[in-house]
């Protein structure tokens, strides 16, 4: 019964989205107040239906109702409560339902909060968002319905892939999806603005807060995913340039370009067309990410549930988004208007170059990610592009970004702004740059990494100067904005330094150890003290006690778990974090020696200064949040004045 109600609610949300599309369109075209009310209420109704449907799916998981195919495929009677709930979005159908919940959530938020002073544009955007909801809810209802029943009801359930049974992975997809789907607001507002023939400034002002929020969530989602990969997959890495990772990195880059270019467009009308173009591309890239993850067209280390038919659906949706959006853009971009113009050393010029560099990275990542697909289309199958390509293409552009970043905040809008004072100031930043380069040299980084570290040092000095120089800014809104900018920029520096440190990591050491035997890596001696059973609620486990000596003695307890329901083995790594880096130990398969002893495979790596990456990600997310707060406050102040 519950599953049938769920099906009905999905259909209801779909129907309400059609109503939202039509009445929103009518409200925008005629200014009809009743149509506007209907559009808004359809949006709220669709949100309520989708949220309740999602709640019902969770109830089905709590009841372990295995007559529902999706529950049977992703849960098990023995699964701990928290993971029964998280399994609701752990597989394809449930994650698409979550995607739809967020998409209708954006629709309702647009109807409620967007553009109180321009109802025509708002209604048009609500209507467009209704169209997006129809596309994805249609996909959900017809090709990936989580409420489909099974004819043969299993007794126990197949269980979710156990590596997905993890706290970080329970919150990683929702966070990532807020980011992906949040970009739909920028898409709808840009398309609505093009239809309405609004100027670039109005469009940029409308989509800025949504883009900033979505980008911040996307950053958090990617960081959580990288963290999960780091400690759960047991490979000791956090970024592999895998298609699934690139799928989230490309919308992140496009959205990063968007939140910068939209500032310039709102300020002086410059880059109006470019900003609208980025807004259309950002959500298109998000959808392409979903396509790459869900279709399985590329061999990925993170491939999950895969089905080519579903891939075709998402590809179709993506074609509609990109084709429709860009066609409209081609016909209407003339109405966006020209900006005020700007000088070569104005802030606009630097934002322009920032955008070109981000676009270059996004373009090369896109090319490398899709290259195997393109080759397959030409009849050459089985080509893959290694991480070396992505490192070689992305690093120079990202380094160039770091060089220009600290100068921009000191430049005025529109006017030439390069003064002797700025020249002196930026010369002083060379010293920290040299120090950072020296540090990279001492930890034996490659020449490219040394250069990157030097640029990061220069940037950090500039960011600190930005904070110091602008500390006199008046008003809470300006302070929040400044804090946001400084935190996010410093966070980028921390991630860059973390990547430099990471590149100096040594290869793994793998050895089978019997009790009492040792592994030595530079700085550490690890001794296998013993292995004991440490079974959990739905798994059996071996836990090794490994004694670590490096001046002082500590112990690490990596586990190897066997989940009977899924017939799958996983490893729980043990990590000892320090300022210098993480000692990262995982336990592999046991093997019998000729002597009859049992030796356990132990894998050890030392990952230098991983904390820099986590710190950087947290700073970027806090920076984005702070900038969002500053933006909201300044709007409220302006609203009170006018």
């Amino acid at each position: 019964m519950i599953a049938e109600i769920g099906r009905f609610l999905v259909a209801l949300a779909f129907a309400l989205s059609i109503l939202q599309l039509l009445s929103g369109w009518r409200a925008a075209s005629t200014g009809s107040a009743p149509a506007m009310r209907i559009a808004a209420r359809s949006a709220y109704g669709a949100l309520a239906a989708a949220v309740i449907a999602f709640g019902l799916l969770i109830i089905l998981f709590l009841q372990s109702d295995f007559s529902v195919a999706y529950v049977a495929g992703h849960s098990h009677v023995d699964k701990p409560l928290f993971y029964k709930i998280a399994a609701a979005w752990g597989g394809h159908e449930g994650s698409m339902l979550l995607w739809c919940v967020m998409l209708v959530g954006v629709g309702a938020a647009l109807a409620r909060f967007a553009l109180r002073q321009d109802e025509q544009l708002k209604n048009r955007a609500v209507s467009i968002q209704g169209g997006l909801q129809i596309l994805f809810l249609g996909f959900l209802a017809f090709a990936s319905n989580p409420f489909d029943r099974l004819l043969d009801v299993p007794v126990q359930g197949a269980d979710l892939n156990p590596i997905l049974q993890d706290p970080a992975l329970a919150i990683h997809p929702p966070t990532l999806y807020i980011g992906y789907v949040g970009l739909s607001a920028a898409f709808s507002l840009a398309v609505a603005g093009l239809i309405e023939g609004r100027g670039g400034r109005a469009i940029a002002a409308a989509l800025r807060p949504w883009s900033l929020f979505a980008w911040t969530a996307l950053t958090a989602g990617i960081a959580l995913g990288a963290w999960w990969a780091y400690y759960e997959l047991g490979w000791g890495g956090w970024w592999f340039w895998d298609p699934v990772e690139n799928a989230s990195f490309m919308p992140w880059l496009v959205a990063a370009a968007l939140i910068h270019s939209a500032i310039a467009t709102e300020k002086s009308g410059n880059f109006a067309g470019w900003t609208a173009f980025l807004a259309i591309m950002a959500f298109t890239m998000s959808t392409m990410g979903a396509f790459l993850v869900r279709s399985g067209v590329l061999t990925s280390v993170h491939a999950f549930a895969l089905d080519p038919e579903r891939g075709l659906w998402i590809l179709g949706i993506m074609t509609i988004l990109a084709g429709g959006g860009l066609t409209l853009f081609a016909f209407r971009s003339g109405r966006l208007g020209h900006g005020d113009g700007f000088a070569l050393t104005s802030r606009e010029a630097f934002i322009g170059v920032n955008n070109l560099l981000l676009a270059a990275v996004a373009g090369t990542v896109l090319f490398g990610t899709l290259y195997p697909l393109v080759m397959t289309a030409f009849g050459v199958s089985g080509v893959s592009v290694g991480a070396a390509y992505f490192n070689a293409t992305a690093t120079p552009f990202l380094a160039a970004l770091l060089i220009l970043l600290p100068i921009a905040p000191f430049l005025p809008w529109k006017k030439d702004g390069f003064s002797r004072r700025l020249a002196v100031r930026s010369t002083l930043w060379i010293l920290p740059g040299v120090l950072a380069g020296l540090w990279a040299f001492l930890i034996e980084a490659s020449p490219v990494a040394i250069a990157a570290a030097a640029f990061a040092g220069w940037t950090l000095a500039g960011v600190v100067t930005d904070l110091w120089y602008h500390r006199v800014l008046q008003g809470a809104a300006a302070r929040f904005s400044l804090t946001g900018r400084v935190l996010a920029h410093a966070g980028v520096v921390a991630v860059a330094l973390g990547a430099v440190a990471d590149s100096t990591g040594r290869p793994e050491t793998v050895r089978a150890l019997a009790e009492g035997e040792q592994i030595e890596i530079p700085g550490f001696t690890l001794t296998l003290d013993g292995v004991r059973r440490a079974d959990g609620p739905n798994y059996l486990a071996d836990e090794a006690r490994i004694v670590v000596e490096n001046g002082r003695v500590s112990e690490l307890l990596p586990q190897r778990r066997y989940y009977a329901a899924a017939d799958t083995t996983t490893r729980e790594v043990a990590i000892r974090s320090g300022l210098g880096g993480d000692l990262y130990v995982s336990l592999g398969e046991p093997r019998a020696r000729d002597s009859g002893e049992i030796a356990y495979e132990v894998r050890v790596t030392f990952n230098p200064m991983v904390w820099l990456l986590g710190l950087g990600a947290i700073m970027i997310v806090l920076g984005g949040t702070s900038a969002s707060i500053g933006r909201a406050m300044s709007r409220r102040q302006k609203g009170m004045v006018s």
């Binding site: 113009g341 070569l344 089985g382 390509y389 793998v510 083995t569």
Partner: protein
């Protein structure tokens, strides 16, 4: 500065960055491309020693050896040909006999394939597309669709 010349300069910068991006991408791609071979294709085409390639197929039943000092050796098959793989790393948790695997590495003079990376599936229903195709070509597998 006039709007026109200012726009020209931005276009020029965009052109430089575009050329740099395309140039870098093409150069980097040459070194980073890894070709996929099925065991039968290896037998027919003999990729050279040290050339970095990927091989995919099924892990032959009963072929996995776990040397006492660590690492693992196993045989990858597509039904028509087999390749012995030596690996001194730690096998992924989802590695299983009789199931699909992709290994990346190079042939060594002994004739074995030395893997630097072993990719096993993350999901019961997942078969890497290249492996599915290789198995279909050798006739080992008549599964429907891409399952």
């Amino acid at each position: 500065m006039r709007a026109r010349s200012q726009r020209l300069i931005m276009v020029a910068i965009a052109g430089v960055i575009l050329v740099a991006a395309v140039g870098l991408a093409l150069i980097a791609l040459r070194d980073a491309i890894v070709l996929f071979y099925s065991p039968s294709e290896v037998a027919a085409e003999h990729p050279g020693f040290g050339e970095r390639i990927r091989i995919g197929g099924l892990v032959e039943d009963g072929s996995v050896e776990r040397p006492a000092e660590g690492g693992a050796n196993f045989v990858v098959t597509d039904g028509a040909a087999t390749i012995r793989v030596v690996y001194d790393g730690s096998l992924p948790d989802l590695f299983r006999e009789g199931q699909g695997v992709v290994v990346e590495g190079a042939f060594i003079p002994s004739g074995d394939f030395e893997a630097s990376t072993v990719l096993a599936k993350h999901d019961e229903t997942y078969m890497p597309p290249e492996v599915a195709e290789a198995l279909r070509e050798s006739g080992v597998w008549q599964g429907e669709g891409e399952q």
